[in-house]
């Protein structure tokens, strides 16, 4: 085939992932003939992940069949769920002609395109150009979303709908989800209805409508829509997640667990198994939690996709199930590099302390507990704090356990999973009677601080109000509820009194923290919008 020179392609950086050297070389030659000179090659998922972490690519061409442990779809799942893949990277999954529809129909994380082997230069060129066209058309929307300007993105969606009708379906999907992020279920519903008006069997639009019901608090209606979808599309895994969320919100934990188990049958991935394990553990189904975490560990063993938390979760399940020996055995197999993380070592030591104590080795328990205590950052509401609290109760340090737990709840009092796990620690330790003193009181304390700050603000005691929240953040720097309240009240202050550069810096700092603590959260998006509005008004004044 003749060499095609195309300016658009000449600057693209690409990565080819295939276990067969001849296939990689073949694709590399094809890309070279299309005028794409920069082609990196990876032969394993781990190698690919390293490349992707250290470089930025415009195109990734990945073969579905990689090796026995990980296929292309699992690698994509890892990249997307860990936010390693920039949205601007085009990920093309290459499959054999016989497996293509099976791969695509059960895929939870969609690549930008599926291509069926054999790849020819002409086919590649055609697909890459079409993807570039799409990227160009959607760029104004994605740009706004990158800036967290979700409302701006919605406005761009409306504009692109007018000017580029051929991307209408993609745009309506983005618009619906942006409106859901903004907490506007009624408007989101209109976008989904419009998409269904074009084609009445679009599954994502139906699930979008179910989410609108969920946000509006109409849980039964949400469930009804999800179940209708699953009757026709039993492989649509996202629907099971929504079903599980709705069931959990209705307090029906067994139903949530069933939904997640069914999703695992469709996509038997480590991530899905982990989700099953988390819910099973929270609901006290230790047998199922053990199977699920064990599966997650086995799936990712020896691979970069392995998550240290799986090992810690399984070890804690072993201890809870009365098998302390297995917990110790498992933790002793931790890969060396896990020790580089304080959070891992802290949790590991906290679980070891519980296990040693249960086996009657009090000296080892003491030693492990002290190590865990030194390494645990108790201002954070994370797994290591909860494990340390559990170790404290197990080893008879009730007062210390209570203190750690109260701090953890205060650190992130609006995190319902954390609060329910904190209650579980007390229940498992036979200290259920302390729940009111520890958990409820901690919740009340933080609620009171936020309420006081709001009251001071209403009484126009602005500076006292802000000082109150700043002080609270000293002892609980990662409390999302307090961070949100602090951002809001600082912005309110500025909307009354005008721009204050110190406060702008503070709000930026709060929002940056919130971005890390709760990525993609709708309340954080709203706060970003509030900030932009406040700042643009302040500038005009």
């Amino acid at each position: 085939m003749a060499t095609i020179t195309n300016q658009r392609l000449a600057n693209l950086r690409s990565l080819v992932v295939d276990d067969m050297a001849s296939m990689r070389q073949n694709i590399r030659t094809q890309l070279g003939q299309l005028g794409i000179p920069h082609v990196d090659q990876a032969s394993t998922p781990d190698e690919a992940i390293r490349f992707i972490r250290n470089n930025s690519y415009d195109i990734i061409l990945c073969d579905y069949n990689l090796n026995r442990e990980t296929n292309g779809q699992q690698m994509l799942e890892f990249l997307r769920s860990q936010n390693i893949l920039p949205v601007s990277t085009m990920f093309i999954m290459v499959t054999a002609e016989t497996s293509y529809d099976l791969v695509a129909s059960a895929a939870e994380f969609q690549p930008d395109a599926y291509m069926v082997k054999p790849l020819t230069g002409g086919k590649l060129l055609e697909r890459i150009e079409r993807l570039l066209d799409k990227q160009n058309a959607l760029r104004p929307i994605m740009g706004r979303l990158n800036l967290k300007d979700v409302a701006g993105a919605v406005a761009e969606c409306d504009r692109v709908l007018q000017t580029q009708p051929k991307w209408a379906i993609d745009v309506l999907k983005l618009k619906g989800s942006a409106l859901l992020d903004l907490g506007k279920p009624e408007d989101a519903r209109k976008a989904y209805d419009m998409a269904l008006g074009v084609r009445d069997d679009l599954v994502w639009a139906k699930i979008g409508i179910a989410k609108c019901h969920q946000i509006a608090g109409e849980l039964d209606k949400a469930k009804e829509v999800v179940q209708e979808v699953l009757e026709v599309n039993a492989k649509y895994v996202v629907a099971y997640d929504l079903l599980a969320k709705v069931a959990e919100a209705q307090g029906n934990e067994q139903e949530a667990l069933d939904a997640l188990n069914r999703s695992y049958e469709v996509v038997p991935s480590a991530r899905r198994s982990r989700m099953v394990g988390d819910v099973a553990y929270r609901t006290g189904d230790l047998e199922q939690a053990r199977t699920a975490f064990d599966r997650a560990l086995t799936h990712t063993k020896g691979s970069l996709t392995a998550q240290p938390s799986d090992m810690l979760s399984l070890a804690q399940v072993h201890v809870d199930a009365g098998d302390a020996q297995s917990a110790l055995q498992l933790l002793s197999t931790a890969p060396k590099h896990y020790a580089e993380s304080d959070a891992f070592v802290a949790t590991q030591a906290a679980v070891q302390a519980q296990a040693h104590f249960k086996l009657g080795d009090f000296e080892a328990a003491e030693h492990a507990y002290n190590r865990a205590k030194t390494l645990t950052d108790t201002t954070r509401a994370d797994a290591s704090a909860l494990a340390l609290a559990k170790a404290a109760f197990t080893t008879g340090r009730d007062a210390e356990g209570a203190d750690i737990l109260a701090k953890a709840v205060r650190a992130d009092h609006e995190n319902s999973r954390l609060v329910s796990l904190a209650r579980k620690v007390l229940k498992d330790s036979g200290k259920e009677d302390m729940a009111a003193d520890i958990v409820d009181q901690a919740l009340n304390q933080v609620h009171a601080i936020v309420a006081d700050a709001n009251a001071l603000m209403r009484k126009a005691q602005f500076d006292e109000s802000l000082a109150k929240l700043e002080e609270a953040l000293q002892s609980m720097p990662e409390n999302t509820g307090v961070l949100l309240a602090a951002a809001q009240l600082h912005l309110l202050w500025m909307s009354q009194k005008g721009l204050n550069l110190d406060y702008v810096a503070r709000v930026n700092n709060y929002l940056a923290k919130l971005d890390v603590l709760m990525p993609g959260n709708e309340r954080v998006s709203k706060m970003y919008r509030f900030m932009r509005e406040t700042l643009s008004r302040a500038k005009k004044d």
């Binding site: 002609e97 129909s105 060129l125």
Partner: protein, 202 residues
Amino acid sequence: MDIKLAAVIVHDIKNALGALEGALEEMTVQPTREQAVAAHETCSSLREKLIGFLTLYKSSEQGLNAQVEALNPEDFLSGLLRGRISQRKDVRISLNTTDMPVLGFFDENLVGLALEAALQNASRFANTHIEVACTKAENGGLEFSIRDDGPGLGAKEEKPSTGLGMALCSAIAQAHRKGERRGSVSLQDHPAGGAVFTMRLP
């Protein structure tokens, strides 16, 4: 899958492979660029046939599921025509964009495979021209058509076709389902001459 059809197709592929082998043998003496181009074309058409055969086999063994996506039919069809290696340089293929909808919902990989087979078929009969079109069907679906300016149906062929192409197109059309409806294909004489292949998708 019908064993007789399978045998006929494998036989056909074997013959084409034999012809390719002969051409390559000739090239071992004094290869010319023309010969290389012709061998490449034969090879690519053989591969298309094998993919068609495997897809048809899969359809009869496990069933085919169309992965329907929203696509712009004009982009899709012009991409298909552009990337195509044609064995009939004397036949011009044009895209008729009259009444072509902005959006269509279909599986581009499968429909690409089917239309490629239908184009191969049309180029065997066409005199000088093939026209490809896509319109909205009455019930809201899509209708792809490929019309040639050949002698129409019933034309005598030196080497009769195996029927692989039509069987494949039919399986791919039927893999497109919407509610109770399924896709279908037909091959008819066009009132103004030549034959027209139509693929209707729900």
